[in-house]
């Protein structure tokens, strides 16, 4: 029985369970902010190494998105442009040397998406950073192409002079390293542009500042202890890109801030160890991949303290 009817016509009521408010967060928003932040170092790479870099990116993008589409179709899942394939493609491209043949770019991008991500069940399920998985595979499969690095050329030139990377030689002027005027992979070069991109991510709350700080800090400290030049080790190679864009990946790094700090320190130690003691000049990619593998273990034991919890050790909760 109605006492009074509010406004004659009433639409049928929708039933849903609380909370009835949703924040403005979305996966797409996160991914496109990361994409935006990544475009800075990418355009830096175009500036330093020429337009061929754009071709590499286009190849990676098309392959990545297409691979994802195929995988989703095979798994009978819905394909969405959620931006994650775009981020993976840009990140993967940035790990490559400036004159990588396009077919290698395509193979790597396909591996990154199909094997690095979709095989595990798609976004959110993968254990390893897809871009780094792709980079590791092409690096190991086609090693010849990953020893030739060209020196930065005048803008818009396509040909370059082959040279060694600073890490292979062991020296370069700090200023050149900082702004990116050195030989190396596309995203390894300009610390400045990566820093700006990283600050965007921190300011938008997408990544925690503790991760790059502890990553870079532990590299600096350990290299200092081992008698190396810490500033050189920070600025040379892929450390900046790895610290801001890869060690901060949601999916493949620990959940808690404390866990993320452990991850960052572990990766930092591994970077120095690989650089100094392994038969490779650069180790950021492998350091992060190795820590990716440790992430489930970190998450198992590092947990926030629940409200009102009376014991001490969180890992011991049964």
């Amino acid at each position: 029985m109605k006492s009074e009817s509010p406004t004659g016509h009433q639409p049928p009521l929708v039933l849903s369970s609380a909370p009835h408010l949703k924040g403005r967060t979305s996966i797409e928003r996160d991914m496109y902010i990361v994409t935006g932040a990544l475009l800075l170092p990418f355009f830096g790479a175009v500036y330093f190494f020429g337009l061929y870099v754009l071709l590499m990116l286009v190849t990676a993008l098309i392959t990545a998105v297409f691979s994802e589409y195929i995988c989703k179709m095979m798994r009978k899942k819905v394909f969405r442009m959620d931006g994650s394939a775009v981020v993976t493609a840009i990140l993967f491209t940035l790990t490559l040397p400036p004159r990588t043949p396009l077919w290698i770019v395509a193979v790597g991008a396909f591996f990154a998406i199909a094997i690095g991500k979709e095989v595990f069940g798609g976004l959110g399920q993968n254990i390893f950073n897809p871009a780094l998985a792709g980079r590791a595979v092409v690096g190991v499969s086609f090693p010849v192409h990953f020893t030739e690095y060209i020196a930065p050329t005048a803008p818009w030139l396509v040909d370059g002079v082959t040279t060694a990377t600073p890490l292979a030689v062991g020296a370069a002027p700090y200023w050149n390293l900082f702004i990116g005027n050195v030989a190396g992979s596309l995203g390894e070069t300009s610390a400045l542009l990566i820093l700006i991109g990283g600050i965007i991510l921190i300011a938008t709350g997408l990544i925690k500042w503790q991760v790059p700080l502890f990553f870079i800090g532990s590299v600096a400290l350990l290299s200092l202890l081992l008698g190396q030049d810490p500033l050189f080790h920070i600025l040379a190679g892929g450390l900046m890109l790895g610290a801001f864009f890869m060690a901060t990946d949601y999916v493949t790094t620990p959940l808690t801030t404390k866990g993320k700090i452990i991850f960052a320190i572990g990766a930092g130690i591994l970077v120095v160890l690989i650089r100094l003691f392994a038969h490779m000049p650069e180790g950021v990619a492998y350091a992060i991949l190795l820590m990716n593998a440790v992430t489930p273990l970190i998450d198992r034991y590092i947990r926030p303290r629940p409200y009102g919890y009376q014991g001490r050790k969180m890992g011991a909760i049964r």
Partner: protein
């Protein structure tokens, strides 16, 4: 503060808690109105947590406003009073607006007179502790903040758990709702007098009135009133504005810096938390002998003229919305309570109960659920230091044994996690499934 906590704070290892949904307090300046009474009320026999009240009237009986129509027979229960004078038209079984269970309800048709039972004003100072508690119980006072727990039980903690601090909860952290805020602005004397009664009953040493910093008018009003009375043991505590600041557990940590132990209650740390509306109702019950038949509710959202109304229990949402000018186009969701905790209603004819602080009409949001991307926002915002995504993981995989390990029982379902989730996962729903399963496991054993 120890060195360790200082380092933790510096590194933000203790993650920040809570969320900041848009406030939408459009009725913050709307004076509480007592408005035209409805012609008919439907009174649920269960407007509180615990056992339903036992019916005392039958069809055709003539009742006065405030007359006892159902008594509490179990320990955890509360009596129900007629909220209009008139005739008992019908006794039926209806879907409870908050729990969804079939519940006995009494329908009273108004005689238009609003003829009250006699109420006697007394001086609360002259009453004994037992008399005060009895008056609170007889008046059917229950927690008006949303819980609906019978208040007289909270006023009688076991002898080995003395209460040293009373916190009057005026946080009102949920968007839209302004009922408590207006009550504090317009009737600070009832809140403070009620608080003094509670302090006396509990033999408490101190009391706090906790208000969020985004309610400056209420803070100023109470501060001025307290200064005027010069009560050395009653303090005003200004809270940071953040949802869910008004959850008792969060409030206790914020005000006193202590945590209620797992599985425990506020009284285990010597604290009693009462909503300010409940405290005003305690004053009405004790000093005025007035049974709980009405409360302040915020009628808001997509209605033409959002208002704060003094509402008799059992009034239908449609009557209240009509008093506010009707539903605006686009409103397709009716909630009893705020947008974070509110319960969606089947129909505009749902009657309000004692623990409904808000009638909210809004546009529904339906978002497709996606896979978790482990962004850990849910962990960052959880005020209880839990990992909501783990509950989602384990419930989805039906590995229920692990839920207890991650302290599912500590979750109070505030919904902060679901609010921030970029994958729009209904985490609270998963948590409820998990709690059900855990409960089944314990009852099976």
């Amino acid at each position: 503060m120890t060195m360790k906590t200082r380092i933790c704070d510096l590194l933000k290892m203790k993650d920040t808690v809570g969320v900041h949904p848009p406030q939408q307090k459009m009725t913050a300046g709307a004076v509480i109105e007592s408005t035209q009474l409805p012609d008919i009320v439907t009174l649920m026999m269960k407007q509180h947590s615990g056992a339903p009240a036992k019916l005392l009237v039958k069809q055709g009986d003539v009742v006065k406003t405030g007359q006892l129509i159902a008594e509490a027979t179990a320990f955890i229960s509360a009596p129900v009073h007629a909220t209009l004078s008139g005739e008992v038209k019908r006794i039926s079984s209806v879907v409870h607006p908050l729990t969804g269970e079939l519940t006995t309800a009494v329908t009273i048709v108004s005689d238009g007179a609003d003829d009250w039972v006699e109420t006697v004003m007394v001086d609360p100072d002259g009453l004994s502790r037992e008399e005060i508690i009895a008056r609170v119980q007889r008046a059917g006072v229950v927690g008006l903040g949303g819980g609906g727990f019978p208040t007289y039980i909270k006023l009688q903690p076991p002898a080995d758990k003395p209460i040293h601090t009373v916190i009057a909860n005026g946080a009102e952290c949920e968007p839209y709702i302004t009922a408590d805020t207006r009550l504090m602005i317009e009737n600070p004397e009832r809140v403070v007098a009620g608080l003094q009664i509670v302090m006396r009953v509990m033999k408490a040493e101190q009391a706090y009135i906790a208000i969020e910093e985004n309610k400056p008018e209420a803070i100023a009003r109470l501060r001025a009133y307290l200064a005027q009375l010069d009560l050395p043991h009653v303090h005003l505590f200004v809270l940071k504005a953040c949802y869910p600041m008004g959850e008792a557990a969060v409030l206790i940590r914020e005000v006193l810096g202590v945590e209620v132990p797992e599985g425990g209650r506020a009284r285990d740390v010597g604290v009693l938390v009462q909503n300010v509306g409940t405290i005003a109702a305690i004053y009405d019950a004790v000093a005025c002998g007035k049974p709980l038949v009405e409360r302040v509710m915020t009628i808001t959202g997509m209605v033409a003229k959002p208002k704060n109304l003094l509402v008799r229990f059992g009034t239908t949402a449609s009557h209240l919305i009509a008093l506010c000018g009707g539903v605006k186009p686009g409103g397709d969701e009716l909630l009893f309570g705020g947008p974070m905790l509110g319960i969606a209603q089947l129909s505009y004819d749902s009657p309000v109960t004692k623990s409904v602080n808000c009638v909210l009409v809004k546009q529904s949001i339906m978002k497709e659920e996606r896979n978790c991307v482990r962004c850990a926002r849910c962990i960052t915002v959880c005020p209880m230091g839990l990992m909501p995504l783990m509950f989602y993981n384990y419930v989805r995989k039906t590995i229920y044994d692990r839920l207890a390990e991650y302290r599912l029982e500590t979750c109070m379902e505030c919904g902060s996690c679901a609010y921030v989730c970029p994958a729009k996962i209904p985490l609270v729903s998963y948590i409820r499934i998990g709690k059900d399963e855990l409960w089944k496991q314990t009852t099976d054993k």
